[in-house]
Symmetry: C2
C-alpha cells in the first residue's frame, strides 16, 4: 500500500472541475527518437494549451474551489508556470491573482502572467525567497496563499495526467517525471502506483538543483544553499516535508542529470519530434541519454510538462547542444 | 443546401475506424498572438501525433477499409505527409505500402516514409508527376491507388476535424484552412456548412501554387505550368474536377498569400505559440497578416495541419522572417 495525502477518487472527481482544454492531452510515440535513444519513447504533451504547461490542471481545481467558497483573491509564488496558470484560471472566475516571482525568471513567463491580468511582484532572489514574500502578502492581505506541491489541489490536478496515462492504449514500462516541488511526481506517481503498479516511476532533477532528489535518497529533508541550472521550472532549494513523505511512497527512483544532457534533450525533441520545450520538460530525455542501458529496448513515457521559453535563450541552448 | 460528395453521417462513423491517437486534437486560444495579429486566434493542432500531420485521419479510414476488404497492398503519390500517414496506417494492418514522391520533397518526410517500412519511389519532377507514376504502378501491380482528395476517405477522414470544430466550447467566426488538393478544405468545409453554417470557411494557398484557388474563382479547373513555393504540402498544378465541385459548395473564400507572409507566420507560431510548423501550416497566419482589417476583432481558428520540416530549412526560414 502506498499511503499518500492524495486520493484517487478525489482525483477522478477533479476532472469535472478542470476546463477540458487542459485534459486528455496527446500521448503518442515519437518513433524518430527511437534510433537516437535506443528505446521506444512516447510523449505526454502538456504544452498544447493556453498556458503551455501542465500547471493549469491544478489551478483550475484550485480556482474552482476558491470561487465556490466565495473567495475574491489569491496569491502564489511561482517560477513562472504556476503563476501563469493561476492567472488564467483566476481570471475566468473573477479572482484577483497576485504572483510573486524571481526577477530572474524567464521574461516570457513574466510577460504572460502580466498579460493575463495578474498582479506581478518580483523579488530580488530565487523561488524560495518568492515563497516567503507570497506568504507575507497572504498574511497581510488576508487572502489565500496557494502553495505549489503543498496544496493538495496542485498535486491532485497534476495527478489527472496519471489517470490518462493509466488508461493508455499501449502499455509502457516506465514514466520519466520532472521533479521540482513534487506536485507532478507525487500526483502522477500516486495514480500509477494505484492503477498501473507495474510502471516504474522515475523522477528526474538537474544536478544543479538536487534538493528533492537528495532528500528522497536520504529519506529526510535536505536543503541546498543555491541552485545552478537552466531548468528554472524545477529549481528549488527547500523541499516540503509532507511532499517528500508522499514522494517516498510513490517514486521508484530519483536521478540527477547534467545541464549538457538537458540542452541535448531539448535539441532532440526539437529536431526529431518538432517540439519546443522548456528545460524542465527535457529532463526525461536527459535521463535516457545518461543511462541508455537502463532503458534499452523498453517503452518509456516522458511528460513534456512545459514549453514556456525565452526565444533567445532557447535558440542559444539548442544551438549549443551536441547530439 | 450544400451538396458535396461527402456525407456527414459517414464522417461521424469514420471516427470509429481512426486510431483515437489522431482524434480530438488540441483546440486552444493562443492569446500571445492576439496583440501581434489584431484578432483572437485559436489553433487546431494536428501535429502532436506519430506522423505529425492530419493525414492519418484519412489513411486510418482507408487502411481499415482496405484491410477489411482483404487488400494486401496500396500505392499513393504524396508530397510527403500522406505517404507517411499511409505507411503508418498500412503497417499496423499488414498492408504493403508504396509511396511515390518527388525527389525534391523534404528529406525529413522521405526519411520517415522509409522508416515506417514503406517502399519509396522518387520521381524527378513534382507531385503531379508522382501522381502519374503512382497510377502506373497501381495498374501494373493491380493494387489500390490511393488518390489524395479524390478518394472520398481522404476527405471524410480530414472532415472529422470539422466535427471537432463544430462542437468547440468557444464559438468562432472563421476558419482558415490550407488549400492543396482540397481534402482538408472540402472535408472541414462540408461539416461546418452542415453543423456550424455561421462560420466563414476561408481557404489559403500560396501565390506560388495557386491552381485550386484560381479554379475556385473561375469555377472551372485552371492548371498551372509550375509551382514556386516553400509550402511543399500544398504545391499542386492540376486540381481534380470533382474536388473543385465540392470546394465550390463549401468555401466562402480562397485567398493567395506571399512567401514572406508564410515564413513570418511560421516565425510567429514559433515565437508566440512555441509551435514548429511546416510552411503549409502557417498559411492561415499568413492570410491574417495580409488582411488584418478583415479579421480585426474576430475569433479565428487556424488548422495547424503539419509539422514535418527539414530542420536546416526551417531554421533558415524562421531566421529570415521579419515580424
Amino acid at each position: 500500500m502506498h499511503e499518500t495525502r492524495l486520493d484517487t477518487a478525489r482525483i477522478r472527481a477533479a476532472r469535472q472541475m478542470i476546463d477540458p482544454m487542459f485534459l486528455d492531452t496527446p500521448l503518442y510515440p515519437c518513433e524518430a527518437l527511437e534510433p537516437v535513444l535506443g528505446c521506444a519513447v512516447s510523449v505526454k504533451l502538456e504544452t498544447a494549451n493556453p498556458v503551455r504547461s501542465f500547471k493549469a490542471r491544478g489551478t483550475e481545481l484550485l480556482a474552482s474551489l476558491l470561487a465556490g467558497d466565495g473567495a475574491r483573491a489569491a496569491v502564489c509564488a511561482s517560477a513562472g508556470n504556476l503563476g501563469q496558470a493561476l492567472a488564467w484560471s483566476g481570471r475566468r472566475r473573477g479572482l484577483d491573482v497576485t504572483v510573486v516571482a524571481s526577477r530572474f525568471a524567464p521574461a516570457a513567463k513574466l510577460d504572460r502572467i502580466r498579460a493575463l491580468g495578474a498582479r506581478l511582484e518580483l523579488v530580488d532572489g530565487d523561488f524560495d525567497l518568492a515563497r516567503e514574500r507570497a506568504a507575507a502578502i497572504a498574511r497581510h492581505d488576508g487572502i489565500r496563499l496557494v502553495e505549489d506541491s503543498l496544496d493538495i489541489e496542485t498535486c491532485e490536478g497534476a495527478a489527472t495526467i496519471g489517470l490518462e496515462l493509466a488508461r493508455a492504449a499501449r502499455p509502457f514500462d516506465a514514466v520519466l517525471i520532472a521533479l521540482g516541488g513534487g506536485a507532478l511526481a507525487t500526483g502522477v506517481g500516486h495514480v500509477l502506483k494505484a492503477l498501473a503498479p507495474g510502471v516504474e516511476v522515475i523522477c528526474v532533477q538537474p544536478l544543479g538543483a538536487p534538493a528533492m532528489t537528495l532528500s528522497w535518497r536520504e529519506r529526510r529533508v535536505v536543503t541546498t544553499d543555491s541552485t545552478d541550472t537552466i531548468a528554472d521550472g524545477v529549481a528549488g532549494r527547500c523541499p516540503i516535508p509532507a511532499v517528500l513523505d508522499d514522494l517516498l511512497q510513490v517514486a521508484d527512483d530519483a536521478v540527477l542529470v547534467e545541464e549538457a544532457s538537458i540542452t541535448t534533450g531539448m535539441r532532440l525533441l526539437l529536431d526529431h519530434a518538432g517540439l519546443v520545450v522548456e528545460p524542465s520538460a527535457a529532463l526525461g530525455i536527459a535521463a535516457i541519454l545518461e543511462d541508455r542501458d537502463r532503458f534499452a529496448g523498453r517503452h518509456v513515457v516522458t511528460i513534456v510538462c512545459g514549453g514556456n521559453v525565452d526565444v533567445d535563450a532557447y535558440h542559444r541552448w539548442v544551438g549549443a547542444a551536441t547530439v
